[in-house]
C-alpha cells in the first residue's frame, strides 16, 4: 500500500473488523456513503408514515383518527425528518460515494471525522423519537419552529432543539470534509473546471451549509435560552420580537432549500448527459448558474414573511430578488433540455426519473414564481398552494433526483443490475400517484384551505380525498423500490463495467464495476 494513504487518517488498513463493528468503526468513504443512504431511506419511510397519518386524518372533514395536538406533532416531525433526516443525508451519501471517485482521490480528506459526521445522525434521530414520549409529546410547532409557540412547548421542544444542534454539527463536519476533499485531493490534471458537475454542485452546497447551519443553531439556541434562562430574544413580554425569529430562521431557511436542490441538480446533470449520449450542454454556464443561485439565496429570505407587516419597499426588494433567482434556474433548465436536444436518447429508469424531475421541478419552480409576487402571496401564504409548491420542488424534485441517482449508480456500488422492468413500474407508479397527491392541493390552496389544520370545511373534501388516495398509492409504491434494491443486491444480474454507454466520469471510465473497496491509491492518469 502506498505511503500516501496512511498519512491522511486512513485507519482501516489491514484492519477489517467484521459484522456491526465494521460499520461502526469504518472510515471508508464508500461504507459511509452506504450508511448515509440506508439511514436516509429509513428516515424517508418514517417521515412517510407520518405523512400518511396526516393524509389519513385529512381524508374526510372532521376529526376522526388523531387529536389535533398529535396532528401538529405529525406535521412538525414529518417536515423535520424529511428535510434533515431523509433528503439531506441522502445527498451526503451520494457525495461520500462519488466525489472521491469522480475526482480521482483515494478517500475523503478527513476519514475519521467522516465517521463521526454519520454516527451523530442516529443520535439526533433518537432524540426526535424520544420527544414523542415526553409529557406533552413532540413539539407541534411546525418544522419552522416559530417563536413564540416554541417558547411555550413542553420538554419535547428541548429535545428537538438538541437534535437540531446535532444535525447541524453533522452537516457542518460533512461539508468541511467535502470542501477540503474537492479543493485538495483532486488527481493531477483534474482542474476545477474539469470536475463533473455533481462535484461543483456539492462544493457550492457545502459552502452554503457552513454559512447557514450555524445561523439555525443560533436561532434554536436563542429559543432555548428564552425557554430556560430568562432571555427574551423572542418573548414579547420582555421586549423580544417573534418576527425576529422568522428573520433569523429564514436567513438559514432559504439557502436550505438550495442545499436540498443543488445536489439534486448535480445528480440530474450526470444522468441526463449519460442517456442523451452527449456532453452536458453549457458546462461553464451551469457552474456559474449554480454559484449565482447560491449567492442570490442569501438575499431573498423574507419572501417567506410577506405577511408580517414589512414596509412596502422591503416587500418589493425581496420580491424582485426572488424573481431574479428564476434567471439562473432557467439557465439550468434550458441547459438540461439542450443536452437532450438531438441526443440519441434512451429512457432507462434513471433517465425516466431525471426527466420526471425536470418536468415536475420546473412546475414547482413556476408556482414558486407565483408565490414570489408579494401581492399574490398575501392571499396564498400558509395555504395548501404553498404545500403543493414546496412538495413539487422538494418532495418530488429532490426525491426523483435521488431515485435517478440510486438507479444510475447502483451497478457501480453493488456490481449488480436492478430489474429494469420493475424500475420502470416504480417510476410510473410514483409519478402518477405523486401528481394525484399534490396537483389537487394547488386547487385546495387557491380556494383558501389553510395548511397545518386537522379539519376543514366540507367544500375542500373532494380535493383532500383525491390527495389522500394519491399519497397512499405513492407510499405503497415505494415498497416496490425497496424490493427492487434488495433483490438487485441479493440476486441481480452481474453488471458490466460500464452499463451506461454515455457515462463518462472517472468512476465509470477508470474503475471496475463494482467499485473496489479502495480506489485510486495512485491517482489516475488524465489526458
Amino acid at each position: 500500500m502506498s505511503a500516501v494513504l496512511d498519512t491522511h487518517g486512513h485507519a482501516d488498513h489491514g484492519y477489517h473488523p467484521g459484522g456491526i463493528m465494521r460499520w461502526i468503526t469504518t472510515t471508508n468513504h464508500k461504507d459511509i456513503g452506504t450508511l448515509y443512504l440506508w439511514f436516509s431511506f429509513i428516515m424517508f419511510m418514517v417521515g412517510g408514515v407520518m405523512a400518511l397519518v396526516i393524509r389519513l386524518e385529512l381524508f374526510s372533514p372532521g376529526l376522526q383518527w388523531v387529536d389535533p395536538d398529535f396532528f401538529n406533532q405529525m406535521t412538525t416531525m414529518h417536515g423535520l425528518i424529511m428535510v434533515f433526516g431523509a433528503i439531506m443525508p441522502a445527498f451526503v451519501g451520494f457525495a461520500n460515494w462519488l466525489i472521491p471517485m469522480m475526482i480521482g482521490a483515494p478517500d475523503m480528506a478527513f476519514a475519521r471525522m467522516n465517521n463521526w459526521s454519520f454516527w451523530i445522525l442516529p443520535f439526533a434521530a433518537a432524540l426526535l423519537v424520544i420527544s414523542f414520549f415526553t409529557p406533552g409529546g413532540a413539539p407541534g410547532v411546525g418544522w419552522t419552529m416559530y417563536a413564540p409557540l416554541t417558547v411555550q412547548m413542553g420538554m419535547g421542544m428541548d429535545l428537538t432543539i438538541f437534535a437540531v444542534h446535532l444535525l447541524g454539527m453533522s452537516s457542518i463536519m460533512g461539508s468541511i470534509n467535502i470542501i477540503t476533499t474537492i479543493l485538495n485531493l483532486r488527481a493531477p490534471g483534474m482542474g476545477l473546471m474539469r470536475m463533473p458537475l455533481f462535484c461543483w454542485t456539492w462544493l457550492i452546497t457545502a459552502y452554503l451549509l457552513v454559512a447557514t447551519m450555524p445561523v439555525l443553531a443560533g436561532a434554536v439556541t436563542m429559543t432555548l435560552t428564552d425557554r430556560h434562562f430568562g432571555t427574551t430574544f423572542f418573548n414579547a413580554a420582555g421586549g423580544g420580537d417573534p418576527v425576529l425569529y422568522q428573520h433569523i430562521f429564514w436567513f438559514f431557511g432559504h439557502p436550505e432549500v438550495y442545499i436540498i436542490a443543488l445536489p439534486a441538480f448535480g445528480v440530474v446533470s450526470q444522468v441526463i448527459p449519460a442517456f442523451a449520449r452527449k456532453p452536458l450542454f453549457g458546462y461553464a454556464s451551469m457552474v456559474s448558474a449554480t454559484a449565482g443561485i447560491a449567492i442570490l439565496s442569501f438575499i431573498v429570505w423574507a419572501h417567506h414573511m410577506y405577511t408580517v407587516g414589512m414596509p412596502v419597499a422591503g416587500q418589493l426588494f425581496f420580491m424582485y430578488a426572488t424573481a431574479l433567482i428564476a434567471v439562473p434556474t432557467g439557465v439550468k433548465v434550458f441547459n438540461w433540455v439542450a443536452t437532450m436536444w438531438k441526443g440519441s436518447l434512451s429512457f432507462e429508469t434513471p433517465m425516466l426519473f431525471a426527466v420526471g424531475f425536470l418536468f415536475l421541478f420546473t412546475l414547482g419552480g413556476f408556482t414558486g414564481l407565483v408565490l414570489s409576487l408579494a401581492a399574490v402571496d398575501i392571499q396564498l401564504h400558509d395555504t395548501y398552494y404553498v404545500v403543493a409548491h414546496f412538495h413539487y420542488v422538494m418532495a418530488i424534485g429532490a426525491v426523483f433526483a435521488g431515485y435517478a441517482g440510486v438507479y444510475f449508480w447502483l451497478p457501480k456500488w453493488t456490481g449488480r443490475m436492478y430489474d429494469e422492468a420493475l424500475g420502470k413500474w416504480h417510476f410510473w407508479l410514483s409519478v402518477i400517484f405523486i401528481n394525484i397527491t399534490f396537483f389537487v392541493q394547488h386547487f385546495a390552496g387557491l380556494a383558501g384551505m389553510p395548511r397545518r389544520i386537522p379539519d376543514y370545511p366540507m367544500m375542500f373534501e373532494v380535493w383532500n380525498k383525491i390527495s389522500s388516495v394519491g399519497a397512499f398509492g405513492f407510499g405503497i409504491s415505494q415498497l416496490l423500490f425497496l424490493y427492487i434494491i434488495v433483490s438487485a443486491i441479493r440476486s441481480g444480474e452481474k453488471a458490466p463495467d460500464k452499463p451506461w454507454e454515455g457515462a463518462d466520469s472517472l468512476e465509470w471510465t477508470h474503475l471496475p464495476t463494482p467499485a473496489p473497496r479502495h480506489s485510486f491509491h495512485t491517482p489516475p492518469v488524465l489526458k
Binding site: 468541511i176 457552513v210 447551519m213 450555524p214 436563542m222 430574544f233 433569523i248 407587516g309 414596509p311
Partner: protein, 185 residues
C-alpha cells in the same frame, strides 16, 4: 519546499488549514446569527417600523381633518395573567388629527403583586404607523398590588396621512406577565 520529500505530510497540513479556516467561518456565522438581533433593532429604528411601544413626538401638523372620521375599536386581553383588563369605551369615532383620550381598567385579582407589560397590535397592521400615542400605559411595565384596580389612560391622535380607504382601526392590547420582576407567584 514545493518539491518536498513528504508530499503526504504537506497535504495533511493543507487539509488542516482548510479545516481551520472553515471552522472559523462556521463559528463566525454562529455569532452572526446573534448579531442579527441588534442589527434588526437598528434597522427597524432607522426605518421607523415596529416602534409599537415608543412615545410619538407631538405631531407637527395637528390640523384636524374634519372631512372624514375613523372608527376606533378598542380591545384588551390578558395573556395568562390573573388580571381583568378592559377598555372603558369599546369604540369611538374620531377625526384624523384630533387629540383623543381613552381609559382602560385593570384589576389584579391575585393575592400578590404582579407585573405586566402591554403590547399593542393594530388591525389593519399598516394603520400602526399612523397611530401616534402620546401617553400610554404600554410604554413601561405596570405593577399592580394584590387586589388593586387602576384606571389607565391612552392619549393618541390619528395621523391625517392615514390612507383614506381605512375607515376602522382596531387597537388591541395584550398584557404579558413580566417574569423575574416579582411577577411570578
Amino acid at each position: 519546499m514545493a518539491e518536498a520529500a513528504h508530499p503526504a505530510a504537506e497535504r495533511a497540513r493543507d487539509n488542516r488549514r482548510v479545516l481551520t479556516r472553515l471552522s472559523v467561518v462556521a463559528a463566525l456565522m454562529f455569532g452572526f446569527g446573534f448579531a442579527l438581533v441588534p442589527f434588526y433593532e437598528k434597522v427597524c429604528l432607522a426605518l421607523g417600523v415596529n416602534s409599537l411601544v415608543e412615545r410619538s413626538e407631538q405631531a407637527a401638523n395637528t390640523q384636524v381633518d374634519t372631512s372624514r372620521s375613523v372608527t376606533i375599536e378598542l380591545d384588551a386581553n390578558a395573556h395568562q395573567l390573573p388580571w381583568r383588563f378592559r377598555p372603558l369605551t369599546r369604540h369611538l369615532s374620531v377625526h384624523p388629527g384630533e387629540l383623543v383620550h381613552v381609559e382602560y381598567e385593570i384589576a389584579n385579582v391575585r393575592s400578590a403583586a404582579v407585573t405586566g407589560h402591554a403590547v399593542p397590535s393594530y388591525g389593519p397592521a399598516l394603520a400602526g404607523q399612523y397611530f401616534r400615542k402620546l401617553e400610554c400605559f404600554c410604554f413601561k411595565p405596570q405593577t399592580l398590588a394584590a387586589g388593586e384596580t387602576r384606571t389607565m389612560p391612552v392619549t393618541f391622535l390619528i395621523d391625517p396621512a392615514l390612507p383614506r380607504e381605512v375607515h376602522t382601526i382596531t387597537l388591541s392590547y395584550t398584557f404579558f406577565e413580566v417574569a423575574g420582576l416579582g411577577g411570578k407567584s
